[in-house]
Symmetry: D2
């Protein structure tokens, strides 16, 4: 059986990655692609890398064009999907790659985003530890999925095993992320110009202001944390894609090194897309480029009393579009890995 | 008066940067440049960017060639300078850009480097707060200077004001550094090949093993810390030069935001080369490219209970060669900024 | 039916790309992977991006290990495959990604490579115009394939339509290529270090010395040129992969702009992997990253009397491993595009 | 004596580079800096790398603010300087870094730029061969200087010696340039976003449409060409600054290799800022980063019948701001190299 698919906001970077991955999905067929200012243009004019969809034409983003599909993926600016989805058939599987349906707390939404609050959908990180199970279970049969923030899911996956196992503390987490500028989208801002990014590292949203922080804390609570604090600093570096999150947490006193590694090993041993690397090995973002894979290395710094987890994710793939498709596969009862690349494109 | 200068190990990246900066120093004259495998070649064959020294020829690195100069800069692998300097005139000003004379503790040396221990020289970070003064005072008149580790001095300058003022805790510091591969030198290693670095972020020395850690802790002790722990993770990113250190420390309970900013403002208000940027502004490494300047932005994350200091330094300039020359200027009684660039080369 | 596959020299960049593409080929099964110094190690230790093959172990490169497979891909230094293939079963399909079997002229081999001459195999560029047909026809049923030089095939595909149609002159061709360092392999050379490539453009093999020149001229002869001269200059630029060839040729007097575009349009209209872009549109290497696709833009400069063809190819994919697999598909009677990605990974 | 200086349009990349170089010029004092939308802001807000000018404030760009200075540098969009300079004192030295006063031919202006034609000023490429002398001579005492187009001057310097000596033909020149995006300025265009430039090579203005073409042909005429044709293709590559021009020209029949090298050697032997590298050596853009230096390598391809000249220039330094200041030095009777860096910042 083939499912018909519409992608709204398909002209941006996240939308383009959805199209790239969907184009080789054996059970999904891209029927409709929508855009705002690019409506009327062929895909090739906006995404010259998508040769297999080159002549498909963007139509305007509205409920009419999205109606009648089995699946609708939304890659819209936050605030835009909330209004739109109210008009979609409740039986359509809708996967939102924006922020509108990630947060359960209206207070957090108001503090970090503002504007209308739309309420949370099923969170699209299947491998996330939730109580005694995993988020995967909640995705089965759901009709509404909130794909995660790319930085948020990277940090959540880095920490959840240790929190669920009680080997790390959820207070006083520190994470610093090297990120590529495609995560910021196609916005025409001076600080995203190539001349401003090439040859330099550039921090932003320093000091607890990044919108992914409440999402991370929500995920850590689901994993078992009573309370969590996270110092979160992203640094733009000159690579088009990728997140390398260096996350550290205090070791719970009395925990052994074996117990610590065992927590992560146990959590991800059976996963297709999330892997703990052998001791002493750490990932590079190139290793997951274009893939729906998260690679993780773990070190224990006894002198500092901290665990360090370094996790590499492609912000557009596993961070956004891959997570969305993986979650849709689960929701529809398809094999979870259907159509998703495991190997990165390196060097 | 002009001082005659020899640079030993001038064929590497640190050596090349010493030559570049020394070439425009009005009081120093480069008389001798030494190298190992490149001895006999002209500077242009190794450093094609140094047109003003193009025809000067490298001689072999030995005590004979280094004798008879007012100043000797050493840019040698660790272990090599210790033996060599024993043979130099005690009245010659010797500035070592290697690690051999940075650490006071033989135990630290044995744990992180190993091999013969040579003892500490005067540390070459003039702006570092030491007790109630600054390291600058100790440099006046000295004949032996240990230029700092580039990552170490970046983190020390980031933290010293807060520690000296008692507003941040020295336990449980976390720092993650985006660094360019020139810091690793010209070593022919697969992981330093361009194809391995381009388009990717690559962590190394994760988990408390980096050799700059004891140097940082030593610096923090000088600044007033009784004990310090530092989780330190460097991440190679695709820029040839530069360090962007994101350093966080716990705020001492009861401290106000004003007290915190005042600590850094007070420490660096009169400095030529170290600057605290205005609130909400953070530096990029491009801003200090080629310059002897450290730029620093500071944020307070109340929810996380941490101060975040983001500091940008050119690892070869302020991180190594610039610090060496600045310290030599002070040792010789010259104006501290003589011959040193303040402005970075951007974009 | 599944074909068993061995890849010799699988630890290099070309070998890694063969593995990446073969891993998702539905008709091929990677049975054996060989390496030299990495023999005994798992694939993950050398190619951490290849998670789907992570635990497969490299064995030594020798005829014994390569025997008994349906297909053998060779990714060895030039000179190494010639001796080895003499020992392989004549009925095995052997695809050499090295240079040993590309050139028909022993004189050219001696002038540009030297050492033993092994003779030419069927050239692995299916879309290349050859007389009144295409190279594809010669590949059907062959047992020995020489995958092309990445730069060579890029320039041949750029020019062949115009030469076959008689609209451009084959004398006085000029081509300048922006290339990524992965094309130079994993060789430990100072000029391939990241610090030497980041932020800079670096020409090499200037002045008619590059080894792909005789291969290009051979390809142009096949396409119909009586004689050809090519000024060929590659420039290393800071991208891990990719070739952007800017190739110009003199317009044959009396030719119209319509005739010129028609030559390329006609040649590639039915191709899956080679495309002429619309007038005024030119490709970027990102558009073909990881894909077996060549994109081409064409402009006519009347004042200069030249056609300019700009062609983008991923040197490891369409330039090497993709061409090898595409050619193997044809040789074995499989649909030509089996297992090969069309869409690039961008941005 | 110190000359007072105003820089108009100082908030752009060319303006920033003027400020950077002027800040260390011993005879010039920056009195006034003007901007359009950034008027009222301090320099540090726009150019955080210019610490030595951090607190100077931009004023609006108008004739009043520019009046009363010894020198006025203009770094304005083309069309803007023409109108403005009519209002400046004829005795003020005015150096225009825009295109308004480069072309002598109104026809060329109309064809490539359009709008009002302002007429040519003295061209600011001192080393350019003009008849039996050099452009330097024309600059002495002039009050109006047109700094060159960065690509144009790079190609002119590459070719002029061969044309003046009659060893290369001026018809059928082909040049392909790898260029960094800072040359395109701070314009907010999608194709200049970092995600579009990182990891990729991107051609533009293909097919004889680039505005620097008539400027190059004008320069070649001055050097002695009766007529010239140039196929000119720029390719954006992921480096913030730099031009690497690979230029080829047909060898005049009967010319020897010695005669060819002698032409370039003779032309630049006594120059401070333009150098022919030894045989077999070619420049990288990193070698001239931040410097007022042009480095050139020359090869002869006998099979192709062409000379290849590869020239590296920093588009903002020697390509624009450095040329402007060097020309101003000459016009004012100062030593030509005053205040200008010779050594590049590498690696």
């Amino acid at each position: 059986m083939t499912f018909s698919v519409a992608v709204a906001g398909a002209s941006g970077y996240a939308g383009g990655e959805l199209l790239r991955l969907l184009a080789s999905h054996p059970e999904f067929e891209i029927t409709t692609v929508t855009a705002h200012s690019n409506a009327g243009q062929p895909v090739a004019a906006v995404h010259p890398h998508l040769r297999s969809l080159a002549e498909k034409v963007f139509v305007a983003t509205n409920a009419q064009h999205l109606a009648g599909h089995d699946i609708v993926f939304l890659a819209l600016p936050h605030g835009a999907s909330g209004a739109l989805t109210a008009q979609l058939d409740p039986d359509t599987l809708v996967v939102d790659c924006g922020a509108d349906h990630r947060l359960e707390s209206e207070e957090d939404w108001a503090a970090f985003y503002g504007g209308d609050f739309f309420g949370a959908w099923t969170y699209g990180v299947p491998e996330l530890l939730i109580g005694s199970g995993k988020q995967r279970e909640k995705l089965v049969g759901t009709k509404r999925i909130a794909a995660p923030g790319c930085n948020a899911s990277t940090v959540e996956l880095s920490l959840a095993p240790g929190i669920a196992a009680g080997v790390i503390e959820s207070l006083d987490i520190v994470t610093v992320l090297a990120v590529g500028p495609s995560g910021a989208g196609k916005a025409l801002k001076t600080n995203l110009l190539a001349a401003e990014i090439l040859g330099t590292a550039n921090p932003y949203a320093v000091g607890g202001t990044h919108r992914h922080i409440p999402e991370i804390i929500q995920g850590l609570r689901w994993a078992g944390a009573e309370r969590a604090t996270v110092s979160f600093t992203p640094v733009l570096v000159p690579m088009s894609r990728g997140i390398l999150a260096t996350t550290t947490a205090k070791i719970v006193p009395g925990t052994t090194a074996e117990q610590i590694r065992a927590a992560w090993e146990g959590a991800y041993a059976d996963e297709t897309f999330v892997h703990l690397l052998p001791e002493g090995v750490f990932p590079r973002t190139a290793d997951v480029l274009g893939a729906n894979t998260a690679l993780m290395g773990l070190a224990i710094d006894e002198a500092a009393g901290r665990v360090i987890i370094v996790t590499a994710v492609d912000n557009l793939a596993k961070g956004t579009a891959g997570a969305a498709i993986q979650s849709a596969n689960i929701a529809l009862g398809l094999p979870e890995a259907t159509g998703l690349p495991i190997d990165g494109v390196a060097p």
